[in-house]
């Protein structure tokens, strides 16, 4: 049985946050008063595997993405991925790349698609954005992953006066490696003041690119990104959640690392699933519950943009 929300959008894509911990501290992802989940609140690897299998067996979802926090720091991620081998599922991960080099062979062997967040190529800026020192490791991780044939994309959040002078360098970095880069609009998850200070819209980025390049639109079938090629063949995408939201064909729901179903990143409600897992599994009730709450999936960002989202990015993984 397929899963449809109240606006007749089919839910086919599950994003699972494996942890709310991260080995970087990017300022646009965190909130100051952030309270991390206690260990016993976090879903076990077995529970996560079971939830994915419920969505797979009952609702025919065809795509899963692991997010965080940083998913590669979640202990047991290998057995989780191995446990999904027999499913006919596209399994992907979004990572900051710090541990990509170490995991590259495993991810390659398991055919895992990898999106790497990369906002700058300048070490000092990387420190300013993320608090970390390991930009070299990320780049080594990307190159190792590509060498092993991993399907990889680069995700970049452009921030005004922080890294918007690196647009062309980032495009060249991706192009020289034969991978696509997607510019993701900065979302208002931290606070309004910071968001207004740093936000740059897709239109503005395109204007900047067009000062040096011609942009040719690729009419590619994608639910969330608009793709272009430059005259040299470089492929770039825009994920413009703020200025051109893609809510009308949103197919995704999210599960937080503490087992809440989140129907929209900007929704203030979430739906606890652990009650059907502990102390013992009640699959029938869980399936019924998911079917009924998914009808409450909000129409989208447009409807909710005036309200503050309840989850910081670190708990949802974008």
């Amino acid at each position: 049985m397929d899963l449809y929300d109240g606006y007749n959008r089919k839910v086919s894509y599950l994003r699972v946050s494996l942890t709310d911990r991260c080995n970087l501290q990017c300022f646009y992802c965190r909130r100051d008063n952030l309270v991390l989940y206690e260990r016993e609140e976090i879903l076990t690897i077995e529970e996560i595997k079971f939830l994915i299998s419920v969505f797979y067996r009952n609702f025919g979802i065809n795509k899963v993405r692991f997010t965080g926090g940083e998913p590669l720091i979640r202990r047991g991620i290998e057995s989780l991925i191995e446990g999904l081998r027999d499913f006919n599922l596209s399994v992907n991960i979004t990572t900051n790349g710090i541990l990509l080099k170490e995991f590259a062979r495993f991810l390659s062997e398991n055919n895992i698609g990898v999106n790497v967040s990369l906002d700058t190529l300048i070490p000092e800026k990387f420190k300013k954005i993320s608090g970390g020192y390991d930009l070299d490791r990320i780049i080594e991780g990307i190159d190792t992953a590509l060498h092993l044939g991993i399907k990889l994309k680069i995700n970049t959040v452009l921030l005004r006066s922080v890294n918007d002078d690196e647009i062309f360098d980032l495009i060249d970095f991706a192009f020289s490696r034969g991978v696509e880069i997607r510019f993701i609009e900065f979302m208002p998850f931290v606070n309004e003041f910071i968001w207004r200070k740093y936000f740059i819209s897709e239109d503005e980025i395109r204007d900047k690119i067009e000062q040096r390049h011609k942009l040719y639109e690729i009419g590619e079938d994608s639910s969330i990104a608009r793709y272009y090629t430059l005259e040299n063949g470089a492929k770039i995408g825009f994920i413009s959640t703020v200025s051109k939201p893609f809510c009308h064909n949103c197919s995704r729901v999210r599960i937080t690392s503490d087992g809440h179903l989140v129907l929209c990143m900007f929704d203030k409600f979430s739906y606890p699933l652990k009650q059907f897992l502990r102390p013992k599994i009640k699959e029938n009730e869980l399936v019924e519950y998911i079917c009924s709450v998914v009808k409450l999936k909000p129409k989208g960002y447009i409807e909710l943009r005036e309200k503050q989202a309840s989850f910081p990015m670190i708990k949802l993984g974008g």
Partner: protein, 75 residues
């Protein structure tokens, strides 16, 4: 209509841009370009009509801008 050549196609044709006229559709134009620049045959390229990549034959109008681009990176 204007035809722009980028990347190696600029070298192959020895020009960045040519004006042509009278072509009703893309396949006719392609046949003409292959005739005029035989080295283009066997090349892999992407074609854009008025800044939009096209994957099949399309009709052309007099003031269209057509571009021959290198294959798109990353699929």
């Amino acid at each position: 209509m204007k035809v722009l050549f980028f990347g190696r196609f600029k070298d192959i044709t020895g020009t960045g841009e040519v004006e042509v006229e009278g072509f009703k559709n893309l396949s006719d134009l392609k046949a003409y370009l292959f005739e005029k620049y035989p080295k283009l045959r066997g090349e892999t390229f992407a074609i854009a009509v008025n800044f939009e990549i096209v994957h099949s034959d399309v009709e052309l109008n007099d003031n269209d801008e057509i571009a021959l681009l290198p294959p798109i990176a990353g699929g």
